[in-house]
């Protein structure tokens, strides 16, 4: 295998995600963090689903800049902020980390979803000596003209301090790449950054790992050494400068005139406006108080379409969040027939109907948007299959205690989390006679104690995060997840070995096959992470927002070519 060639060519090819994937990463991440709407869902367009996994929605053609169009600079884009940030410090919350990662901070590289090919940002070049070492040469760039950096040049020592500091943070939702793969950085001069890794990871450049929009944010060294500075102010070298906020809401950003890409960004500023209720967001969108809004379902989409017609553009895309039912894998749950019975007793089509008005797709562990996902035919025959009679038979052959009442823990607040939990409760009771008590928990307790700490007696339900590489979706099959024992107490040597091994396979085709094989193996072994379906996400934009980058996932948020053209 030619490693040099490997690192510089496409890591994988994914199907086009399209549309509002840009919003989706932040949106769902915020949702899971309990900081936003639980609106992964949505409808789809009336258009048939294309092979690319994209539902084009209505009127997407008007969105991008068309040939000959005159760019009008200096407009301000008004975006919705769904929830108040706990802190503006990007090291303190997923919401602030993602928002500033796409605007205020620069990064060495980023890997778009659609191509899977790493693109250099601040990095002028990246050379891979071997799978454990690579060298990044920096372009010229300066920090924002605010203390403590005061407009000085970005140096290799800033990158080292930033990434090594981020790797130690406990409040960032870091992947295990930062603790188990990344080792340290050496800086022989101001323009050279040498990465030293502890282990091979074929997904290292993805935005879930080394290209994380949060952890790979480049801060001035002074701030990286004392990140509490960011409790009060933010200084980066990204396209926009932080201007103000109102107690964690209503952020104002202005264009950074010395941004390393000359002439960009076109927008003079970004205003994030706090709009918590969906009804208020729809009203604010219709009144052009905000320029874009994520839609909860197809009814909202149809309503807006009817109301504003060709003045707006609606992007509809497959979500990358899979709604999961997680059981335990120890005690009486250790018998795989118990878990198989639960797989077969879940009626996913009913879930899609009840939660999304029939608009959604059955999913395996890796969402259908990824090239590494198993085919829809395979999903139908495995994860998507419902057979209540067989489920009862399987459960009846075990010693599973049906007299006991089990827990199902879900996140509150969030109507959709509760709705999904209620559907699972109902199906388990109706199809298998398993009695379930619903336990709603605030996100912090649910995440750290119940999920990470395996503190649940029966079931736990949630939509997975929208990862940018398939490896993360299958990471839950390992015996250790991050630094903790498997959340479901699932200890399977074979799957553990396969998941760890696929990260080291540098050949794209081989690795894809390995990921697919793992998904099939997980079904055979009835792994306790039971995927059900993905929803579709809709986002409406006013047609005057031009130059948006669509179909490239969160990469689109880095675009400096968006502008406002109100005629």
């Amino acid at each position: 295998m030619d490693h040099e060639n490997y690192w510089n060519r496409r890591m994988r090819r994914r199907r086009l995600l399209g549309g509002a994937g840009t919003v989706a990463l932040g949106g769902t991440a915020w949702a899971l963090a309990g900081c936003g709407d639980d609106d992964d869902s949505g409808g789809s367009s009336a258009s048939p689903t294309s092979d690319a996994g994209v539902n084009p929605g209505t009127l997407t053609a008007a969105t991008p800049t068309t040939a000959g169009e005159v760019v009008k600079k200096d407009g301000t884009l008004k975006s919705r902020q769904g929830a108040i940030f706990a802190s503006i410090n990007p090291y303190s919350g997923l919401d602030s980390g993602l928002t500033w990662g796409f605007t205020i901070f620069d990064h060495l590289w980023y890997t778009p979803l659609d191509t899977g090919v790493r693109e250099n940002f601040l990095a002028a070049s990246i050379e891979q000596q071997d799978p454990l070492h690579f060298t990044v040469k920096l372009q010229d760039s300066v920090f924002h003209d605010k203390a403590p950096a005061n407009g000085r040049a970005v140096k290799a020592s800033d990158v080292k301090a930033s990434l090594e500091s981020a790797a130690k943070q406990t409040k960032i939702s870091n992947s295990s790449w930062w603790t188990q793969v990344f080792d340290h950085i050496e800086t022989p001069d101001d323009k050279t950054v040498n990465f030293v890794l502890k282990a091979v990871d074929a997904w290292g450049f993805s935005s879930t790992n080394g290209g994380s929009p949060i952890a790979s944010s480049i801060l001035p060294e002074e701030i990286a050494k004392d990140p509490t500075f960011m409790d009060k102010d933010l200084v980066g070298s990204g396209r926009f400068q932080f201007v103000s906020h109102e107690n964690g809401a209503n952020f104002k950003l202005k264009r950074f005139e010395k941004w390393r890409v000359s002439g960009e960004p076109y927008l003079a500023g970004l205003n994030y406006k706090l709009v918590q209720e969906q009804a208020a967001a729809l009203a604010a969108f219709s009144a052009q108080e905000i320029d874009a809004v994520a839609l909860n379902n197809k009814l909202e989409r149809e309503d807006l379409d009817k109301k504003h017609g060709k003045s707006i553009v609606i992007d509809s895309v497959d979500s990358r969040a899979v709604w999961l039912v997680q059981t335990r894998a120890d005690g009486q749950w250790a018998d795989p027939r118990v878990r198989q019975a639960i797989y077969l007793a879940l009626d996913r089509k009913e879930m899609i109907n009840l939660m999304n008005f029939g608009e959604g797709k059955l999913a395996g562990p890796v969402p259908p948007a990824f090239g590494e996902a198993i085919t829809s035919a395979e999903v139908d025959a495995t994860y998507g299959k419902t057979d209540v009679a067989e489920a009862k038979k399987l459960l009846g052959a075990t010693t599973f205690d049906l007299n006991k009442e089990y827990q199902l823990k879900y996140i509150v607040p969030g109507d959709r989390y509760q709705q999904f939990a209620q559907i699972v409760q109902s199906q388990m009771q109706k199809n298998l006679g398993i009695k379930i008590k619903l336990v709603g928990e605030d996100f912090g307790k649910w995440l750290a104690q119940s999920l990470y700490g395996s503190d649940y007696d029966g079931f736990i339900t949630y939509p997975s995060l929208e990862y940018d590489d398939p490896s993360s979706y299958i990471g839950s099959y390992t015996k250790q997840i991050g630094g903790r024992p498997n959340w479901a107490a699932f200890q399977d040597d074979e799957l553990d070995g396969l998941v760890i091994k696929q990260k080291t396979i540098l050949d794209d085709k081989e690795r894809r096959a390995a990921v697919q094989a793992i998904q099939k193996k997980a079904y055979e072994k009835a792994a306790p992470y039971i995927p059900t379906f993905i929803a579709l996400s809709n986002t409406a934009n006013w047609g005057y927002v031009k130059g948006r980058v669509v179909g490239r996932g969160s990469y689109g948020l880095f675009s400096g070519k968006t502008y406002i053209d109100k005629g």
């Binding site: 108040i84 706090l274 209720e277 009203a283």
Partner: protein, 316 residues
Amino acid sequence: MRQYAMRRLAYMPLIVVVVSIITFFTLRLPFANDPTTLYVNQNTTVEQEQAIRKELGIDKPVFEQFVIWMGNVVRGDLGHTFRSNQPVWPEIQRRWPVNFEILVLSVTFSTLFGVSFGVITAVRQNSITDYAFRVFAVFGQSIPEFFLLILLIVLPSLWWNYSPPVGGHVSIFDDPWTNLRLYLPPTILLGIGGAAGMMRLTRSTLLEVFRQDYMRTARAKGLAGNSVVLRHGLRNALIPIVTLLGGHITALFFGSLILEQIFSINGLGQFFLISALTSDFPVVQFLVLYTAVVVVAMNLLIDLSYAVIDPRVKYS
């Protein structure tokens, strides 16, 4: 009266301390939420968790934590919020103008509508006007605030594509038009909702007063109708109205959570709610102190106002 007021004020520290103790220890009961859980990710080690505990000041024995906190409070240091790592007091201060405006407008409208409608219905007892206002009062009390406020957003949007301004608090001194567009409609609506109870109370109290001998005497003396109702009738009916009003004001001191949530106003209500949900101990502990002080102070003010309204009330 001064002695009475001083005696009541002397109880305040005792009440505050007792309430604080109960809250402080309840927050730290074994089954309560552990705030550390909010600050860990899947890679966090046990040692890092312990470091977070230390950083938050919750690694020490509970009694020691209480002594440290109480000592700091006495010195005027309310601590830093867990979530934003900012001093608690400025966090409250920054949000206070929002709630002050909501409080003033809501109380003004609910009093204005409640008392005036109450007087009208009492004077015109059993007339069509009386029935109409009483039906309105029943509706006002039975329709939940959140529903009315959502309608206030949805209907203008449906009819005129209108939305209240979004983007946060705007001072009335900086931009009066935007400020009033943001605050006036919801506070009028809340005022109408809150007026329902006050209207019923005003009406029933006034009707009671109208049957008193001194009212008959006032009329017999030939005083004008307005003078009889407002000077002699309403003044004597004010005590229960002021009591109810005091309760409204006390509640609004903590923010109008539903209004803030629906109109996306980042005020004290949301701050307190999120802090409570996320076990932000310094904020919750301060909230309890604040609640105790406000409740005690408002009750005292209401009690003292009785003597002003009715000279027959004497405090010794």
